[in-house]
Symmetry: C2
Subunit: 111 residues, 2 copies
């Protein structure tokens, strides 16, 4: 082990926010979400995404709804709730504070 995937550790805590942000913006289902994340440079496995969706749902941040598809299995679309919007706002705030502190400490100021 290389010291074990820095990336997967970095992800913790932000991933929920990212998924919430996408759901807030688009009407998506899980599988589609994973593609969108991939496009945005944040590829995460399904074994990661689905548990997050369940968690967000359990916390009342999103709601899911099964819908038929004309070309494949049913899809579960997700929508953000008021509570979810507030949580997202909180996460964005936390992210700003933390990321600026980290930026200062890591000092990646190579212009």
């Amino acid at each position: 082990m290389t010291y074990l995937s820095i990336r997967s550790q970095l992800l913790k805590g932000v991933l929920d926010g990212c998924i919430l942000a996408i759901i807030e913006k688009y009407e998506v289902y899980g599988y589609e979400l994973s593609k969108k994340l991939e496009q945005a440079g944040l590829a995460v496995s399904e074994g990661t995404i689905y548990p997050v969706l369940l968690r967000l749902q359990k916390n009342g941040f999103i709601v899911g709804e099964m819908r038929a598809s004309d070309s494949g299995p049913d899809r579960k679309y997700y929508f953000i709730t008021e509570k979810g919007k507030e949580a997202l706002k909180e996460i964005r705030k936390e992210w700003k504070v933390l990321s600026s502190s980290i930026e200062t400490i890591l000092g990646s100021d190579e212009t």
Copy 2:
């Protein structure tokens, strides 16, 4: 529970990098480190810091050396190794990539 400290999750993975970065720059001991992190807006408990130091040491990223103090208990000073510098470089790179992706997705573009 509020959904459980977003912060503590966000920290995961970056903390090692932050601690490495400080050790690279300054000659510090554990207790002092916790103060420096606090100043930089990244307060973490001792129960967090010391295990990280042990981990970094076990991975050969830093080395520790006990030294006497003229005003209190002995202190364990840490120094970064070549391997540690490389790891830090890697972490900085990961951070740049990830944080920019996250920035895009979270979209905190309130100018």
